[in-house]
């Protein structure tokens, strides 16, 4: 069984990935991204790279798929630069596991 890898984000941030042969889904608004991710989750998509700018507006979607084996939603910085959400998410995972903020 082979799976596909998708990249969701604004056109400027995702166009490069198209050249690598990943499935790119350029979206403009968080609502579009939400729909796109919901649709992708039902298909054979194992990894979704999502730009942080969009992820900021939809933490509910991230939480929804956090404990699922598939898809893995991984945040990447968009054109605008890193917002630190990806790093915060790791921090949150630690807090969740340990019950306190260590490290």
């Amino acid at each position: 069984m082979t799976y596909s890898i998708a990249v969701v984000g604004d056109w400027d941030s995702v166009m490069g990935f198209r050249a690598l042969g990943l499935e790119t889904h350029p979206v403009r608004t968080p609502d579009q991204a939400r729909e796109e991710i919901k649709r992708l989750a039902k298909t054979d998509c194992a990894v979704i790279y999502l730009t942080e700018t969009l992820a900021k507006a939809m933490p509910d979607v991230l939480d929804r798929y956090k404990d699922e084996l598939r898809p893995a939603i991984i945040l990447i910085p968009g054109r605008e630069g890193s917002l630190g959400i990806g790093r915060d998410n790791i921090q949150r995972a630690i807090e969740r596991a340990v019950g306190a903020d260590i490290l």
Binding site: A19, L20, G21, V47, A72, I90, R96
Partner: protein, 227 residues
């Protein structure tokens, strides 16, 4: 008094003792599982942190080169150049079992084998910066896939640790004390019954003895009177 009603019987006591032993063994096992998971989790998290920092940095550089490329080319030309990818990536997912947590292991295959054969456009209409940007992105992508794998593993492990921690705490602070309380209650009740029974027997013995003594005395008096 335990807050759940238990029958103070020997059968209940045996049953509870068995349950307590199981609970204690389960508690120990779960605690070991939690500790080991935590160890692995922290290792993974450290890896995720450094790799994420690396990927973010690299990706920003790539975004930078794409910006340069798009400045040198018209937006249409750029879009056209990247429209139909030559390369396609297929992902295979296998699972690795880390302390009963299934974590994904990704592996990808590209359709074109050679590294230099990934450009989906002719070199004539595009700028050299675009080639460099695409190539750099190809390198970052490997790291990104690794990041996806360990970050997902970390998330899944965090969930499992949370679950295990709750179970350990529930056993340690609720279930086991509750059972110990019940066992104590039953033992005390049974001992109480035992003592009550002894006293009852002693009283009966006293009564029987008193009757016997009185009988003997009456017989003696009768004999004295007759003689």
């Amino acid at each position: 008094m335990p807050n759940v009603a238990v029958n103070p019987t020997r059968m209940e006591l045996t049953r509870l003792k068995g349950k307590l032993r199981t609970a204690q063994r389960g508690h120990k096992l779960l605690k070991d599982k939690r500790d080991e998971l935590m160890k692995q989790f922290l290792e993974t998290v450290r890896e995720v942190r450094s790799l994420r920092a690396e990927v973010e940095e690299d990706l920003m550089k790539v975004h930078g080169s794409f910006t340069v490329a798009s400045a040198l080319m018209s937006a249409q030309a750029l879009e056209q150049a990247l429209m139909y990818p030559k390369q396609s990536v297929e992902l295979t997912m296998t699972f690795q079992n880390v302390m009963s947590v299934n974590v994904p292991v990704y592996d990808f295959q590209t359709r074109t084998k050679s590294e230099s054969d990934i450009y989906p456009y002719g070199f004539a209409g595009t700028s050299g910066e675009l080639d460099a940007a695409v190539e750099a992105l190809g390198h970052v992508f490997r790291k990104m896939l690794k990041l996806a794998q360990i970050e997902k593993s970390a998330q899944l492990m965090a969930e499992e640790i949370e679950k295990t921690r709750r179970r350990v705490n529930a056993l340690e602070y609720v279930k086991i004390p509750e059972m110990q309380e019940s066992i104590k209650y039953i033992t005390m009740k049974l001992e109480e019954n035992e003592r009550a029974n002894t006293i009852r027997l002693m009283k009966v013995k006293d009564m029987v003895l008193k009757d016997a003594v009185e009988e003997r005395r009456r017989k003696n008096e009768e004999m004295l009177a007759n003689s």
